[in-house]
């Protein structure tokens, strides 16, 4: 009697272990292609050439490690375009963050004429593909370029102009996102603060903003990545290395005239990826808490 029960228990224990391990097995298998991809990129950047997944030298023997792919770091131009990428990313973080927080709050809390229409319009605007707008944007940027002072910062063929366009394209989504976060906040907290003696602005700054911090952080991260990786807009509206950015710079390695230097492309790509990887490693806990109900409770 007893032994059989034990056996059954042992069996079901084992069975349970197998079942609980299944998700990990499935996840591990499905992640292999991605890991292999990363592995190749890293190997490729340090080798002369690759054959399959192995680095090889000029004669096709395994080996051939080299730093020549990273030589682009010595080119002052890389630092120029990196700075530009960074400026576009930061411009988007600040621009979209600031404007969508204010607009989202107003749309969530205030009732004014044309509110509904405005909400609908932003949604429609977001549906427009930026490709469709390129010519129109080009005209606008040319016009801005004609304005003294402002034209030097935000006109055609300036980093500011690229950031301006990117911010404008990203705003509808940002506004809707922030409006959603504000909609979830109780009105009572605001009323309490008003009665406690705060001005409207202080209520927004001291009481409301801290509640949507996780949302704002998410928005900032997405915008940083979008700005950092921007390609279409800077490629279209800038000419020459002075104002171009990393993605555009990367593209010139796979130009039409010379054969693509894949190992070098991998190196520049990895270089472009590094800040984002580092960023993720340090912020993954915050990032995850956004989805784990970080906006609530607020400990």
């Amino acid at each position: 009697m007893t032994t059989t029960t034990f056996e059954v228990e042992a069996k079901s224990g084992l069975w349970r272990k197998i079942v609980s391990a299944l998700p990990y097995v499935a996840l591990s298998i499905s992640i292999i292609p991605i890991l292999v991809g990363y592995y190749w990129v890293i190997i490729a950047t340090f080798s002369y050439r690759t054959e399959g997944l192995f680095p090889v030298d000029a004669n096709g023997n395994i080996g051939g490690f080299t730093l020549q792919n990273w030589q682009f770091l010595l080119d002052p131009q890389i630092w120029r375009v990196t700075l530009n990428s960074f400026l576009i990313a930061i411009g988007m973080v600040i621009g979209v963050g600031f404007l969508s927080t204010l607009t989202g709050y107003a749309l969530s809390r205030m009732n004014f004429r044309g509110r509904k229409g405005f909400l609908g319009l932003t949604l429609v605007l977001h549906a427009f593909r930026p490709e469709l707008l390129l010519i129109a944007i080009f005209q606008v940027l040319l016009f801005i370029a004609g304005i003294p002072l402002l034209g030097k910062v935000f006109g055609f063929n300036t980093v500011g102009g690229v950031a301006l366009v990117m911010v404008a394209l990203e705003l509808p989504l940002g506004i809707w996102l922030m409006k959603g976060f504000f909609d979830n906040l109780s009105w009572d907290m605001e009323r309490a603060a008003l009665i406690d003696g705060a001005s409207r602005f202080r209520v927004w700054w001291e009481i409301i903003l801290p509640q949507v911090k996780p949302g704002l952080a998410a928005l900032a991260i997405f915008n940083f990545i979008a700005g950092w990786n921007a390609y279409l807009i800077p490629f279209t509206f800038t000419i020459g290395a002075k104002v171009s950015n990393l993605s555009v710079y990367l593209n010139q390695f796979s130009g039409d005239t010379s054969p693509t230097g894949w190992n070098q492309v991998a190196a520049v790509g990895l270089f472009q990826l590094l800040p984002i990887l580092i960023f993720f490693i340090f912020t993954q806990e915050t990032l995850l808490s956004i989805y784990g109900g970080g906006a609530k409770g607020g400990t």
Partner: protein, 356 residues
């Protein structure tokens, strides 16, 4: 502070929040706003607080119209049902926030917060965040935050309805004691009539945005001015019958389907000769008897100290309380005695009392 509401009205398009409210609250008085959900209690309170702008009418503090005064300059404290604590601030920061906004010096702020917190029994929790407190403790923090700036008017919006029954009971007496000690004029919104009746000096009963009655609790109970007030105040609620009052042999009789009661002359004479009227009798004035109106038991509901039974007489259901353990069952035939000394009469069309 004396508070006057003159013809106070709030509308959103077709939706009526408050409709022509007129009442005066004396200095130091504790007034409860009582009414069913959606009757406009919160709306009225938020207008007094300055959060909602009245569509029409005036609010006067000590004789001065304050319609245009922003909330921060009204010197009021408010406690919300949801507590409305600031989750990112500690208890100390929560309570001290009104003082910080008033630019009270650090040292004095420290002292005042500590005093209020000790008074509320949360002096040891000042470093916690609201999420680390129980519901009762959060409510005390909210109360402390409202009290710390020593307001001249305290507003409560169902502050206890999220607490469990026992805590509600003790907080109720605590708030009442505090209000008496501090003597601050208070408006207390609730849909719990026991809360309103036990705490308030006067109760304002509201329905559909309109003020139905405004009087001390006992008067509300004994001399309800409208059918709604009579039915809303009191638990279990008053029983109503359709009757006609007639004089026979010099006595006033209230007659309806299945009942014929002799009523006191001074009450009966106000209802006589009006055709159909509505008669109200409170459950405590109905009892089981050997003689009287006969009916059939519909429902037996044990309440612990009493059993609530529901007896069908003619077309009306009559509720009364009986001592438990009588072995009554659904379907039993019983006879009821009505103590008519306190009967009420209402006009069925206007629903106004014929007596008061």
């Amino acid at each position: 502070m004396k508070v006057e509401l003159v013809n106070l009205t709030k509308r959103w398009g077709d939706v009526v929040g408050a409709d022509g409210i007129n009442l005066t609250i004396e200095h130091g008085e504790f007034v409860a706003f009582l009414g069913p959900s959606g009757c406009g209690k919160t709306t009225t309170l938020l207008m007094v607080a300055g959060i909602y702008k009245p569509t029409a009418g005036e609010i006067l503090f000590d004789g001065k119209v304050v319609n245009a005064v922003p909330p921060k300059d009204r010197n009021i404290g408010m406690v919300f049902q949801s507590y409305a604590l600031y989750p990112h601030m500690t208890v100390f920061q929560n309570i001290s926030y009104p003082l910080k906004l008033k630019k009270v010096p650090k040292e004095e702020m420290q002292k005042r917060v500590q005093r209020v917190a000790d008074m509320m029994g949360i002096g040891h929790l000042l470093d916690r965040k609201p999420a680390q407190l129980s519901g009762g403790q959060q409510q005390r923090v909210a109360l402390g935050r409202a009290l710390v700036k020593e307001p001249q008017l305290l507003l409560f919006d169902e502050p206890l309805s999220n607490l469990d029954a026992r805590l509600r009971l003790s907080m109720r007496s605590e708030i009442k004691r505090l209000q008496i000690d501090l003597g601050i004029t208070s408006i207390y919104v609730t849909h719990d009539q026991v809360e309103a009746m036990t705490m308030a000096d006067r109760v304002a009963v509201m329905k559909d945005g309109k003020l139905q009655a405004f009087s001390p609790p006992d008067e509300l109970y004994e001399r309800p001015k409208t059918l709604f007030v009579a039915g809303f105040v009191g638990n279990p609620p008053m029983n109503f019958f359709d009757v006609e009052v007639v004089i026979e042999n010099g006595e006033y009789h209230a007659r309806g389907v299945g009942i014929d009661l002799v009523v006191p002359a001074e009450r009966g004479e106000k209802a006589v000769g009006r055709g159909k009227v509505i008669m109200g009798v409170r459950p405590e004035h109905v009892s089981l008897a050997d003689e009287g109106a006969s009916g059939v038991i519909n429902i037996v509901e044990p309440l612990g100290r009493d059993d609530l039974i529901d007896v069908r007489i003619g077309e009306t259901d009559v509720q009364l309380l009986v001592e438990p353990g009588l072995g009554l069952r659904i379907g039993d035939h019983v006879k009821l005695h009505f103590d008519t000394e306190n009967v009420q009469f209402f006009d069925p069309d206007t629903e106004k009392s014929l007596l008061w």
